[in-house]
């Protein structure tokens, strides 16, 4: 079913247009890297603060609220360029182990953000200016650093579709 969706998208004229455009791929890939720098970079600056690794003179609510708009700028750039990259070559990504691993890790990062904001962050006023925040906040920061660094790395690995576990290749998704 998922395969059918990817195959259908691949046949769209707009998908063909991106695929066959001379500059489409370089422009999208370069935008994706710039978006990554802004998003992953600033998310990690916030995570460093949460983990107690850096930016310790700035209050947590300040780091969070002042960097948030710029994190969103980075996210929008990387999300749009990323979606268009997949949209232009769906069947290149469909059988790719790292593509699906990356999506899974992004989902996990989303869950971490959701949990942190609905639970841990509720008491932020009590530890807002502590150079080293409480354990739950530090953990959320460290988990986020590990996840986003992994997402960056797994994303780069999409270019190596052959360097994957044998069981994945045995699924025969290449078709």
């Amino acid at each position: 079913m998922l395969r059918a969706l990817f195959e259908t998208v691949e046949a769209f004229p707009s998908s063909v247009a991106i695929r066959e455009s001379l500059n489409g791929y370089p422009i999208l890939l370069t935008s994706h890297v710039i978006g990554m720098c802004v998003f992953a970079g600033l998310v990690m600056m916030m995570d460093f603060r949460l983990a107690g690794f850096g930016n310790r003179s700035t209050s947590i609510t300040d780091v969070q609220s002042r960097l948030f708009p710029w994190q969103m700028v980075g996210l929008v750039i990387s999300a749009i360029s990323g979606l268009l990259l997949v949209y232009g070559q769906p069947m290149r990504f469909f059988p790719n182990f790292y593509f699906w691993t990356k999506n899974l890790l992004i989902l996990l990062a989303g869950i971490n953000i959701w949990y942190f904001h609905t639970k841990t962050y509720q008491t932020v006023e009590e530890w807002n200016t502590d150079p080293t925040p409480p354990f739950a906040a530090r953990l959320a920061g460290i988990v986020s650093i590990v996840l986003w660094a992994s997402i960056v790395m797994v994303g780069r690995m999409i270019a190596y579709p052959g360097l994957v576990p044998q069981w994945w290749l045995d699924l025969g998704l290449e078709g």
């Binding site: 370069t30 970079g41 960097l67």
Partner: protein
């Protein structure tokens, strides 16, 4: 470069033919691993540069004094830079001929040198100066210049791999 009679080509040929480059090319995982670490270091570098640049532009963590923001970001920036150089060197060596003949490689390296000089002289100085003496214009100019320079480095870098 050829016009002045000085050429880096022999140096690039030497890098390409070194046994280290051969090792990089012969081991399946060595190139991807180096690239992955390069990208993670890039993310940290970008974040630590941007948090100061946004502050210079007056849109970042404005309640914290500029010098404090810069002091706390600098170690991360320097260590990320060290990691970028350490991971960038094997990539450069194993693909030396490709790099030498890529205009984007020279674009990247020239902007990189400019970026480093700017960051460790003018920008460093600016972030250490009493903010009330800086006025509203120069910090913004420096912030924009820094962001543009590093974007230029990243764009050049990405394009090396796509056109050869």
């Amino acid at each position: 470069m050829e016009e002045t009679g000085f050429s880096l080509l022999p140096f690039f040929v030497w890098m390409q033919e070194s046994s280290f480059s051969q090792f990089m090319l012969d081991t399946t995982w060595s190139q991807p691993i180096v690239q992955l670490m390069h990208l993670v270091a890039l993310s940290v570098f970008a974040g630590s540069v941007l948090i100061v640049d946004l502050r210079l532009l007056g849109v970042g963590v404005v309640k914290t004094p500029l010098a404090k923001v810069a002091d706390e970001a600098t170690p991360w920036m320097v260590w990320a830079l060290v990691a970028l150089l350490i991971t960038g060197t094997p990539s450069l060596m194993s693909l030396a001929m490709k790099q030498y003949f890529s205009p984007f490689f020279w674009w990247k390296m020239q902007l990189l040198v400019l970026g480093l000089i700017f960051t460790f002289t003018i920008r460093r100085r600016l972030t250490q100066t009493d903010e009330s003496k800086l006025g509203p214009v120069w910090p913004k100019v420096a912030g924009m210049f820094s962001i543009s320079l590093w974007c230029g480095v990243a764009i050049g870098a990405r394009l090396i791999g796509l056109f050869s």
